[in-house]
């Protein structure tokens, strides 16, 4: 659109130029000397002139000078007209050169602008890529910090798949991505929760072990290789509701010392979170005298 205007301008300029030349040619044709009369006419005239009257010599000279003058005048006018024409042509050529120069300049300007635009575009793309790269690295770092290596690779695969989906169908990809994001969030949440559960479980296992240990009076004569296994049922809050001897040590004194220790340690330290407690309400305790403090 921008270059349409100079194009039309140059077109109309050339139209004017041609019109000028055309008019000049018409003028030249009209003003050029008349063609020689046909030969037959010439013969009739000459015959007539010779046969009739004699001619006044001075009058003829005068007539000839007059004609000659007329001819010179016409010639000078023609020359002036030609000079004017020439000047006009030169002017037109000059105009054309100017026009061409303007065009070239315009073109150069356009190219420069295009180049600049392309450069800018490339720069933006580079920036975008850099930003994306940065985003990716940030994501990777976060994932690394949050997850085990196995989980990281799993997530990377998930992310790749997600990207592929995005490229296929933008709309769907957006939806899919959202869904996946949600799923991923849920997975991450589950993993985090599982880790928390495990660490809580480990903590309370140790607390329970300590609590029973502090109550367990190891029988003086107990065999160090003997052990019994108890099944302990807990109520919320850690109250020991039942202790069953699942496997005897063969030494009733050792068995009872263990059972007594469990009941004495009641209520055992348990988590208040009901879902966590559910994992601890049934305990299998192996008791083997190894050391006393």
């Amino acid at each position: 659109m921008e270059n349409a205007l100079p194009l039309r301008k140059s077109f109309s300029l050339s139209l004017v130029f041609h019109a000028v030349i055309f008019i000049a040619l018409i003028v030249t044709l009209v003003l050029s000397p008349p063609a020689k009369p046909p030969t037959t006419l010439d013969l009739q005239q000459s015959t007539k002139i010779v046969q009739a009257v004699s001619v006044n010599q001075a009058q003829v000279a005068q007539e000839m000078a007059k004609l000659k003058n007329q001819q010179a005048q016409a010639q000078a006018a023609e020359q002036a007209r030609l000079a004017a024409l020439k000047q006009q042509a030169a002017q037109a050529a000059k105009l054309k050169t100017q026009q061409e120069q303007a065009l070239a300049q315009l073109k150069a300007q356009q190219q420069a602008a295009l180049k600049q635009q392309q450069a800018q575009l490339a720069k933006i793309q580079q920036q975008q890529q850099a930003a994306q790269k940065q985003l990716q690295s940030i994501q990777q770092n976060t994932q690394k910090a949050q997850q085990q290596q196995q989980q990281v690779s799993k997530q990377l695969a998930q992310t790749k798949q997600q990207k592929a989906n995005e490229q296929k169908q933008l709309q769907q990809a957006a939806e899919n991505s959202l869904q996946q994001q949600l799923n991923q969030d849920a997975t991450q949440l589950n993993q985090a929760k599982q880790q928390q559960i495990n660490s809580e479980l480990a903590k309370y296992t140790e607390l329970i072990r300590q609590a029973i240990s502090q109550q367990w009076i190891v029988p003086a004569n107990s065999n160090r290789s003997a052990f019994c296994i108890l099944e302990i049922a807990l109520a919320p809050g850690g109250v020991v509701t039942n202790v069953q001897l699942k496997q005897t040590s063969g030494d009733p004194v050792l068995d009872r010392s263990a059972i007594t220790a469990v009941y004495k340690a009641s209520p055992l330290p348990v988590p208040t979170d009901p879902s966590l407690f559910k994992l601890m309400q049934d305990i299998q305790l192996k008791v083997q005298p190894d050391s006393v403090s």
Binding site: L201, I212, D251, R256, A261, I283, Q288, S291
Partner: protein, 435 residues
């Protein structure tokens, strides 16, 4: 790494739970070494109360055993007589694991009905009643019933046989103002009660030793002014002379099978050697044969070796001799006086008298490690004799210028004096289990 461990723990946890039903597995290997906290509730006596407080006998037995921490019954305001009357939380509040309850009822004719139960406060009914028994006895058997109940409770809760029905033999010396003295071979209950003389003499009596069945006591008597070895029947007092060799006749000790006595005889020489005497045939066999003093023989539980005291190394030390090979080895190396040694029933340790820093103390030597542990400290003690369950040692000690009996647990934690006697007490000997 920690997360890895946790996940391993989780995996392990998962591996332990084959069912969807989650079971938490815990392993306990460490506990505490402590006396078992117990309460002995005073028994109801009813009308015609006997003078014997059976519950008090049980209370003292358990308290003196070293294995129990018996609650002070002055703080009780509940006195259950049967299992269904036991308020578990009340007694748990007294910080005890078990309680002994019971009652003594006079049923006429000088007879008493004694019932008792041992209740665990940390086992649920009906498993909470660990023991329950009923006895009908005469007035003078009430203490024995108390000791018997103590034995049952002790065995039930520790797994070790109780020694509360065993007895002690010892020599009681009463010195008169006219310079004469009365020497008595005494037998008493393990707690010092019911002391009675087996033999009374104006001349010294020494070195009592129980037969393995607990029915006879061998000893040295100077009644004929020369040492002779006799054996007396505990129940009847009947006695017989065993040895009367010239010189020293000393330190009789029954073999585990009851067929022989190990003795120290000088037989006319200056110093005694160890011999064994077959009680049925009277045949004598020499065990040691040298010019040093060799005395105080005691048998290993299997009867294969004999421990004895000898000064062959320049100072009194304990040696062990193999009866079959006569191979002898020195057992004690701590200090320059170790004597009066005897094996624990498991033959893993010996109890002896050891002089450390000019004090004579009861010591416990682990034969495997060679570790010598003093059970008493800075005392003036003599004649250790170990209980048949290996958990207590009785010995003679000086207190307020008198010789009295004392006991110490073999872990050194409980040390107590027995009731005072009218006179000086010497050379206690702990009886075997008496059936």
């Amino acid at each position: 790494m920690r997360k890895l461990l946790l996940s391993i723990a989780a995996l392990t946890l998962a591996a332990f739970t084959p069912n969807a039903y989650a079971v938490l597995n815990i392993e306990l290997t460490q506990g505490i070494a402590a006396a078992i906290p117990i309460a002995v509730v005073p028994f109801s006596q009813g009308a015609n109360a006997s003078s014997t407080d059976v519950a008090a006998v049980i209370h003292n037995d358990l308290a003196n055993s070293g294995q129990f921490n018996v609650a002070d019954n002055g703080s009780f305001n509940q006195y259950p007589q049967s299992a269904d009357q036991v308020n578990t939380s009340y007694w748990q509040g007294k910080n005890v694991d078990d309680i002994v309850i019971g009652n003594v009822q006079s049923i006429g004719g000088g007879q008493y009905k004694v019932t008792f139960s041992l209740i665990s406060l940390f086992n649920q009914a009906p498993n909470n009643v660990l023991l329950t028994q009923q006895y009908t006895v005469s007035q003078n058997e009430l203490r024995r019933v108390g000791h018997h109940i103590s034995d049952l409770v002790y065995q039930q809760l520790t797994g070790i046989p109780g020694i509360f029905s065993t007895r002690l033999a010892y020599i009681l010396v009463q010195r008169n103002p006219d310079q004469t003295a009365k020497y008595m071979l005494m037998v008493a209950d393990e707690d010092g009660y019911n002391a009675r003389p087996i033999l009374i003499s104006s001349q010294p009596i020494m070195s009592p030793s129980w037969s393995p069945d607990g029915k006879q006591i061998a000893y040295v008597s100077f009644e004929s002014y020369l040492p002779q070895i006799y054996v007396s029947n505990v129940a009847t007092g009947q006695r017989r002379l065993i040895t009367s060799f010239s010189g020293i006749n000393g330190a009789p000790e029954w073999s585990p099978d009851g067929k022989q006595l190990a003795v120290a005889l000088s037989r006319g020489s200056a110093n005694p050697n160890i011999y064994t005497l077959n009680l049925a045939s009277g045949s004598l066999q020499q065990v040691t044969n040298d010019w040093s003093i060799n005395t105080e023989p005691t048998w290993s539980p299997d009867g294969q070796t004999i421990l004895f005291t000898s000064d062959r190394g320049g100072s009194p030390q304990v040696y062990e001799i193999n009866m079959a090979t006569k191979a002898t080895q020195r057992v004690t190396f701590n200090g320059n006086y170790n004597a009066s040694a005897s094996f624990t029933p498991d033959a893993q340790n010996i109890v002896l008298l050891s002089r450390q820093n000019n004090a004579y103390d009861i010591a416990f030597l682990n034969l495997q490690s060679g570790n010598l542990q003093l059970l008493t400290h800075g005392g003036n003690n003599q004649s250790p004799s170990i209980a048949p369950n290996g958990k207590m040692v009785v010995y003679a000690t000086k207190a307020s210028g008198k010789n009295v009996l004392a006991m110490v647990s073999t872990d050194g934690k409980v040390n107590m004096q027995l009731p005072d006697q009218l006179g000086d007490v010497q050379e206690p000997a702990w009886s075997p289990f008496i059936s």
